[in-house]
Amino acid sequence: MNPLAIIGNVVIAALGETGRLSVFTWKAITHILRPPFYWRLIGEQMMRIGYFSLPVVALTAFFTGGVLALQVYYGSDQFNSESIVATIVALGITRELGPVLGGLMVAGRAAAAIAAELGTMRVTEQIDALSTLSTNPFKYLVVPRVVAAVITLPALVFIGDVIGIFGGFVVGTQTLDFNAGVYIKTTVDFLELDDLTSGLIKSSVFGFIIAMMGCYQGFHSRGGAQGVGRATTNAVVNSSILILAANYVMTSLFFSS
């Protein structure tokens, strides 16, 4: 085939996909604002997406905080490094690593689970069955997941931030023999509310990306088990990439001034 034709086809396919995703996202947003609201389902999804992701996010945050402390210590001149380590751990975790790594871990768990569940419902006609039972599949399936993810991700990341800073503190005081009091004081002095909120806003956006990608891929899967598998992989890969891209954009917006 003509290479230009190949490039053309790829571009057209990508544009088509972007268009479909935009329409899907727009539909989801309009449905979020209109009743009926399925509170019970939102609660259920908050448990599944948020609560059950806690162990993963906590462990990731703890080790990240610890390793950050080590790297900063080895990378600095090691005299008077106490305040540098504490500051960089606190800022690094709350501004970037907490939300991004937390988002990526939840993407692996929740986007995959959502895509697999909705994908199976699609190929077994359960989604069609919903609409014959006077239930809008968008409201019943997509909205609760999106709302739950947007609410729970910041909560998860906040807990992750605390644990991450604690991870740095544990390594600092146990391995690097820092003074605990000085470490805590430095952390509190240097950490500002903006650092925390910027990270939490980011994580809310990541939650939206995760749930949207999971739902979108699930809704559009076809062709049985293989199709569901493909949807699951796509949901994880695409939401991870989108998280990293969105993170860059938000960082440049938040910290430019």
Partner: protein
């Protein structure tokens, strides 16, 4: 040839319906009349577009061209709210039952009542148990999950779910496919009984002739996305249509060619 009934007795009317997926034409100039309060069975081979036709009527799939009228109102270009309103008239038994595997059996049956009609869960459960009884399932089945049931039981639960809201129109997509002959006949009886009880209009699709003869008032045949014959149940044996003859007698030779490699 089509089914001719007075206009006031027409429940669903499809005209000039076209649907394709990419290059593949699935429905081509399809026309069909479903008389009110009667049972129409559409027969046809696998892949002839039967399920797609049902989904077009339900608005799950949108045809490129043509009109589909339910009670005289075109449903192909409805807004979401109007479509949802129209859908409350329908019940559907899906080809593979399509039960919600995350919900217990009773909640599957009660789903349309709880979500669609805002009924209290307790009241809906009572009706669900009653409907399960109508399809020959006992109360204790209600607390099981769909994955714990056999294929025949799943079909019966699907049937109970389809009739739970007492719909005006019920669709049956291959209700007997994949069942043993006895279970198939049980399902046929259940369909006949439930439709009579509700006074509903029934549209079924199948390639099981025994089933078609049992549940049909009228029969139509779909071939390559087009209705090529329609008439009453008794006329099907003297249709004078060689496609219909080949199909109802299950002959390999005839105008319908299967794409199989000859040895």
């Amino acid at each position: 040839m089509n089914i001719s009934v007075p206009a006031k007795d027409v429940k669903i009317e499809l005209k000039n319906v076209h649907k394709r997926f990419g290059q593949k034409v699935v429905l081509h100039d399809l026309a069909l009349t479903v008389p009110k309060g009667k049972s129409l069975v559409v027969i046809g081979g696998s892949g002839s577009g039967k399920s797609v036709m049902l989904k077009c009527i339900l608005g799950i799939i949108r045809p490129e061209k043509g009109s589909i009228k339910v009670d005289g109102k075109d449903v192909t270009r409805l807004s979401t709210t109007d479509r949802e309103k129209t859908l409350t008239k329908f019940g559907m038994l899906f080809q593979n039952a399509a039960l919600f595997d995350s919900l217990p059996v009773w909640e599957n049956v009660a789903f349309g009542l709880i979500q669609g009609r805002n009924m209290k869960r307790k009241d809906a459960k009572e009706i669900a148990i009653e409907k399960l009884g109508q399809v020959g399932l006992t109360t204790d089945i209600g607390d099981l999950y769909p994955a714990e049931l056999s294929g025949g039981m799943q079909k019966r639960v699907g049937l109970a779910r389809a009739i739970a809201t007492d719909p005006e129109i019920i669709f049956f997509d291959e209700p007997t496919t994949g069942l043993d002959p006895i279970m198939a006949d049980v399902i046929n009886d259940l369909i006949v009984n439930s439709v009579q009880k509700l006074g509903a209009t029934a549209l079924s699709i199948t390639h099981d002739m025994a089933s078609a003869r049992k549940i049909a008032d009228y029969i139509a045949m779909i071939y390559k996305g087009e209705i090529i014959w329609a008439g009453t149940r008794d006329e099907v044996d003297n249709s004078g249509n060689e496609y219909v003859d080949q199909f109802i007698h299950g002959r390999a030779d005839g105008p319908i060619k299967m794409d199989v490699l000859k040895p």
